[in-house]
């Protein structure tokens, strides 16, 4: 009897506690309501559209008149070699992006933090994040012009320095495409992505550095033992989120930088979904690709989160 009663009491206490916190924070809840509604409308309602993947969807017809086909579109998808090509390209470019596009901003943020001259620091920071606001259309134009064999600055430089005998057609070689995308992405996003790390570094307690200095730590030691561990939580959160987005790398840069010669290396999943799904009016097929993307993303996110939780007690969830 004792045990049961205790449980009852604890339950009651717990629920009344919940109610209490809710009551005392009701303004906070009210304020978050619009955002909950926003997420619900834009992120949860569209999931209803997933039903399309199991139909032969014809736009304009009401829902109950659509023909149900089960997993037909998924079977088609997994039988298409082009899909696996797109998957390979997506993963390759996102891993490259993760490897460089993630580490370089951290290194950059740390280096920038070490700069003493504050004007130089600010100017550099501004200049490096400005490209973030430039549209990919423009960036693609700049990259194509720079790599052009016809007076492009890169080829002129390489030939001028005697590294190449004659201009090299970078844009026509599939094997260069991934690097070109990764490098231009780094150029465009490095400064922007470094901001969050710079902010994290700025939040570190200066006393730690002072203490280290007193103990005779060099600049490098200070970075290693104070700065890096200090921003570790930030790094991990950003990394987990990035892994969640691995498969959704967008398609603008691939679409704009590619040409027919490098398509084999440029077609990413979203481009594939665009061409074979929406482009051909096969909405069901496109949706099937979308579902595949989402499921893989969720899986990756949970995986990364789980791993970090186990080894470092850090997680986003």
């Amino acid at each position: 009897m004792d045990v049961a009663e205790k449980k009852q009491v604890r339950k009651l206490k717990k629920s009344s506690l919940l109610w209490k916190t809710f009551k005392s924070q009701k303004m906070l809840y009210a304020m978050s309501l619009p955002f909950v509604a926003w997420v619900f409308v834009f992120n949860y309602l569209p999931v209803w559209g997933w039903t399309m993947a199991f139909q032969n969807y014809i736009p304009g017809n009401p829902f109950w008149q659509q023909e149900w086909v089960g997993f037909y579109h998924f079977i088609q998808l997994f039988q298409d070699e082009r899909f696996f090509l797109a998957l390979r390209n997506t993963l390759a470019m996102s891993f490259l992006g993760l490897l460089f596009g993630f580490t370089i901003p951290i290194v950059f943020a740390i280096l920038l933090n070490e700069v003493r001259h504050s004007l130089f620091k600010r100017v550099t920071q501004t200049i490096t994040y400005l490209p973030h606001f430039v549209s990919w259309v423009v960036v693609a134009g700049i990259v194509t012009k720079m790599l052009s064999t016809d007076g492009g600055i890169i080829n002129d430089l390489l030939v001028g320095m005697g590294i190449l005998d004659q201009p090299y057609q970078f844009m026509a070689e599939g094997k260069w495409f991934w690097s070109i995308v990764t490098i231009s992405d780094i150029w465009k996003e490095m400064g922007w992505n470094a901001i969050i790390f710079l902010a994290a570094i700025a939040g570190l307690d200066p006393q730690l550095y002072e203490a280290a200095k007193v103990d005779g730590a060099s600049r490098f030691r200070q970075i290693w033992h104070i700065t890096l561990p200090g921003i570790r939580p930030t790094i991990l959160v950003v990394l987990i989120l990035n892994i969640g987005h691995l498969i959704q790398i967008g398609f603008e840069k691939q679409m704009l930088l590619s040409n027919s010669l490098v398509m084999e290396y440029a077609e990413v999943l979203e481009l594939y979904a665009l061409n074979y799904g929406i482009g051909l009016g096969q909405f069901s097929y496109g949706t099937a690709i979308g579902i595949f993307n989402s499921v893989v993303s969720i899986f990756l996110l949970l995986l990364a989160n789980g791993i970090f939780k186990r080894y470092s007690n850090q997680s986003v969830m």
Binding site: N56, I58, P59, G60, R82, G141, T144, K145, S148, T149, D150, G151, P167, Q169, M171, A172, N259, S260, L261, M263, E264, L274, N275, Y276, I278, G279, L280, G281, Q282, F283
Partner: protein, 571 residues
């Protein structure tokens, strides 16, 4: 000190805000004035037309239009607004509606009018209004222009004889400028003393000789041959060279046998391999621009405009920008003439073969349009004789004059037409509005016996540059057209143009076509850039990839579509 600084900041912010507000105000007052004048003009007209209440029709057009002016604020645009009370709120697409139209069908929100390149999806989504009764009742001008046969061709299919798409193609067109050919700089042929240019080998020799003579132009290396291969343009320039050089006319990706109506993916014709082999040789000899398959459209234009590209192959509409720029910069000897080149003399250039009335691509009224009658009346207005004349010649007294009952464009106006790149934008003449309705083609005469378009033979000749005249004279003709075999030498294609035949959405054929196109876009350029001794291997790979992609089945289905169309139209 602090306070002082703060107040300075405040003043600055206030000034900024004031300035913003002021800007907005001035804009508003500007536009309200406009409104007033518009109202006045419609009022003034109200008595003459019974449709004085103005209405705005939204329209989506699958093609770009750099000449469009918002609110139709051009002389011609204002006149149209005045006459019909209709203002078009237009959206122009850059990729042929390939993404936007599917998105529309997905969302179910349509503009009032859609200009599409194939309306299969829209019809399946039941988005379009049947135009047949509307045309019958409200569109005498369209009926007159297209004739009964033409209207018959507009019918959708055997099972569904509704009319969903009103063609926007020219009627009875005998284009003054050839639609496809090899374009060579006047300076090149002049320098080489007007050699005969009939085959691809002739073309190669010309380019080679001239390039050896002048390896540099203006301090930059001369480019022998380049092409515009940016996105879909690779089909209309480079890939089309396959059949254009081997005695066929443009049927999209398929070649249609004129006797059996059997469709073959055109690359699978043995003759075309030789054409692409020629490209491969050209590349191996360094006569082709190394950036040909990489460059974007604007790079192509700027290369041609610099005057250092000796030749290109492609449709006329990809040449306009460069030709105009060259003319404007006074580099007339670097402008291009067009020659009917074929693989060898066995083949005739089929550029001028008539498709009959082209249907399939055109304008449709959607279910979302509140007043389809008003819309069809507007389209009918565009198709009327007076409007057609205005769209080509401009407004009387402003852009052309009538002398002795004939329309004449004054000298200075011609000067503007030829050299001002923004002429169409400033006046609203031309394709700006002509694109929304069927129109009379070049060479068609109006009720007074004068041609509808300004592309008359006389005007075309008057319009030539001196060097162009010189070149043409050397070849013993008056116009580029005269070098080509003309339409009367060929039968009219009973299936129209195959690329106009709409493929049912969601069909296997559509997927097969897309797959074949993907393979083609990748492997044909690859074959061209390979070593000549590797060409055969890559070409074989191309052929087997196509077969693996079920191309034979696609050909069968396409054949069926074409045969159905021929049957439907011959009734």
């Amino acid at each position: 000190m602090r306070v002082w600084e703060k107040s300075l900041q405040l003043i600055f912010i206030l000034l900024l805000l004031l300035w913003l507000v002021a800007c907005q105000n001035s804009e508003e007052s500007g536009s309200s004035e406009d409104n007033q004048t518009n109202e006045e003009s419609t009022e003034a007209n109200g008595s003459s037309s019974d449709e004085s209440d103005s209405v705005t029709l939204t329209v989506f057009d699958s093609d770009t239009n750099p000449d469009w002016v918002e609110d139709m604020d051009t002389p011609v645009g204002r006149k149209i607004k005045e006459d019909t009370g209709v203002t078009l709120d237009a959206e122009f697409d850059i990729e042929g509606g390939e993404t936007k139209i599917p998105l529309m069908t997905a969302s179910g929100d349509y503009p009032d009018l859609i200009v599409s390149k194939g309306a299969g999806q829209l019809v399946d989504a039941e988005a379009l209004v049947d135009l047949a009764p509307l045309i019958e009742e409200h569109a005498p001008n369209i009926k007159e222009m297209l004739g009964e046969d033409g209207i018959n061709r507009l019918k959708w299919s055997e099972d569904d004889p509704s009319i969903y798409v009103l063609t926007t193609s020219p009627v009875d067109d005998q284009a003054m400028t050839p639609g496809y050919g090899a374009w060579i700089q006047h300076a090149v042929v002049k320098e080489l003393e007007y050699p005969e240019i009939k085959t691809l080998d002739d073309l190669k020799n010309v380019i080679k000789e001239y390039k050896e003579l002048y390896p540099e132009f203006d301090g930059q290396p001369t480019i022998g041959l380049t092409m515009n291969t940016d996105s879909w343009r690779i089909q209309s320039s480079f890939l089309n060279s396959g059949f254009m050089m081997t005695g066929a006319s443009d049927d999209g990706e398929y070649y249609v046998d004129p006797e059996t109506y059997e469709a073959t993916l055109h690359y699978r014709r043995p003759a075309e391999k030789e054409v692409f082999q020629w490209w491969n040789e050209m590349n191996a000899e360094g006569l082709v621009d190394s950036e040909m398959f990489v460059q974007k459209s604007d790079q192509f234009d700027s290369k041609l405009s610099s005057g250092r590209v000796l030749a290109t192959i492609g449709p006329d509409y990809l040449m306009y920008n460069a030709q105009e720029a060259l003319r404007e910069n006074g580099m007339e000897e670097r402008m291009y003439g067009v020659y009917p080149v074929t693989l060898n003399e066995e083949y005739k250039n089929h550029t001028y073969q008539s498709n009959g009335l082209q249907v399939g691509w055109g304008i449709s009224i959607t279910e979302d349009c509140e007043d389809p009658v008003r819309a069809i009346k507007f389209l009918d207005y565009l198709a009327s004789e007076e409007t057609q004349i205005m769209l080509n010649w401009g407004i009387e007294g402003e852009h052309h004059e009538i002398v002795d009952g004939k329309r004449v464009i004054p000298e200075e106006e011609w000067e503007k037409r030829n050299s001002d790149q923004d002429y169409l934008k400033k006046t609203g003449i031309g394709y700006n509005f002509a694109r929304f309705a069927p129109r009379y083609g070049d060479g068609v005469l109006d009720s007074s016996g004068q041609p509808f378009t300004t592309n008359t033979r006389e005007l075309a000749i008057a319009n030539q540059t001196n060097i162009e005249k010189e070149v043409l004279e050397a070849y013993g003709v008056e116009l580029w057209q005269d070098l080509f075999p003309l339409a009367d030498e060929f039968p009219v294609k009973p299936w129209g143009a195959a690329y106009n035949i709409s493929i049912p959405a969601n069909s296997e054929l559509q997927t097969h076509n897309q797959r074949a196109l993907d393979i083609t876009k990748q492997l044909v350029p690859k074959a061209i850039l390979e070593n000549p001794n590797q060409f055969d291997a890559v070409w074989d790979e191309f052929m087997t990839s196509l077969e693996n992609a079920n191309i034979e089945k696609a050909e069968e289905e396409y054949t069926k579509l074409i045969q159905e169309k021929v049957e439907l139209w011959s009734k």
